[in-house]
Amino acid sequence: MKAEEFEPRIVAFLCKWCSSAGSDLAGVSRMEYPANVVPIQVMCSGSVSPLYIFSAFNRGADGVLVSGCHPGDCHYIKGNFYARRRLNMVKKLLEYVGLEPERFQMSWVSAAEGTKYTQIIKDFVKELKPLGPQTKLRRTR
């Protein structure tokens, strides 16, 4: 009997103006992509506190994605620039403590990039599968 294939759960923080719209576009265009994402719409990638990311892992996310507008396209002018700085630090920190670097990703996806969004999710899922479930940071009883 073949063991059921591991399906990673990805928590995706998507900015309302670009990435969330991009994922909607992927949806309404009926593009196919894995159903592993739990999307959380945020106003701006700059509003994603590092705490949200740690917390997502803490509650059992296998991967976390933060996606915002391309540099220069931020609805709030510079929110994504702040995010870029801050989350770079988060990424380095997570690597430093020994979490698999693949588990935390960041992307720029515009409202028109439905295809790019589906590709990012496909790649993310593909990269997470060999890693298996994320148990390092998961809250246990």
Partner: protein, 343 residues
Amino acid sequence: MAKIEDLKEEARKLLREGKVKYIIGYGVGSNGCMANPVFIKRPEDVDVLIWDPTCVHNLTRFLVDEKRRKAKEKQPDTRPVGIIVKGCDSRAIVVLLQEKFIDRKDVYILGVSCENAGVMDEKKLAKKLGAKRPRKIELGNKGQFIISTAEGKIEVPAAEILAERCLECKANFPVIFDVMSGDKTKRILEKPYGSIEQIEKLSPEERWNFWKAELDKCIRCYACRSVCPMCYCDECVVDSINMAVTPDTTAEEKADKTKWIQRSAEFSENFVYHMVRAIHLGGRCIDCGECERACPLDIPLRFLNKKLEREARELFGYEVGFDDSQPALISCFKDSDPEDFIR
């Protein structure tokens, strides 16, 4: 060389002339050797002040208390507080000024230079001395520590018992002060990040095992947070309830407070706490090493902060604690910030 007599003289003068409210300095603790924070209000008490390699504490932490106390006073005494600071401590003042948490006129800074040495590490000292008890520790003029014990004097090269952070200190004299005692001796660090390199070079799995074991030990006494001059938030993510409650705070607001981190001192929760703290100190930690010193279980917390200090420098060219006019690390950006990690 920094002289305690100079400091005492200045302190006495400040208190006598009423120029400062009180002076935060170091005095001898109850074991007769190690320094402890003291708060001096009267000129005649100035003689309790000491300056020696046991003055490990970062006293700027008490500026946070002072600010809170003052906020509650109906008619606050607006005079500045005098404070004795080392190189690292002075960088904390720079950050507090940069973040506008304190005002320059609220502090009168009595700087002391560590003279190319620094302060000692109590654990290293204990190891060195074995069963002997130190009575007094002084910095000699050949870069050695002179330790007096009941059994006589021992001279030890400072580097052998210096606190780790002092071995990696970029400027062991104050960068900001009103008066300063001692010399601005430049030092060249061979390995400014030597301590974390031993972790960086491990494999991810080894790093994970290292941190898992360390953070597992945490009992969440929050000494690391409490001793840190940069941890001045009114309400911390780990507090069980809202701390910043006023009579106008609605029941809903209180009820909606998210419990990000549960109270149980378990690895998963400890991890989130320490990661949040590390990130929050990214570009703010001035490496006074107090968190690590205060930790009763010797979790090497400095390794987290030092790593982010290094990343801030290497990714963004950001140096913390030298310029109070520069914007804080995460409240600014450059168009050219690296984004190779972004898809």
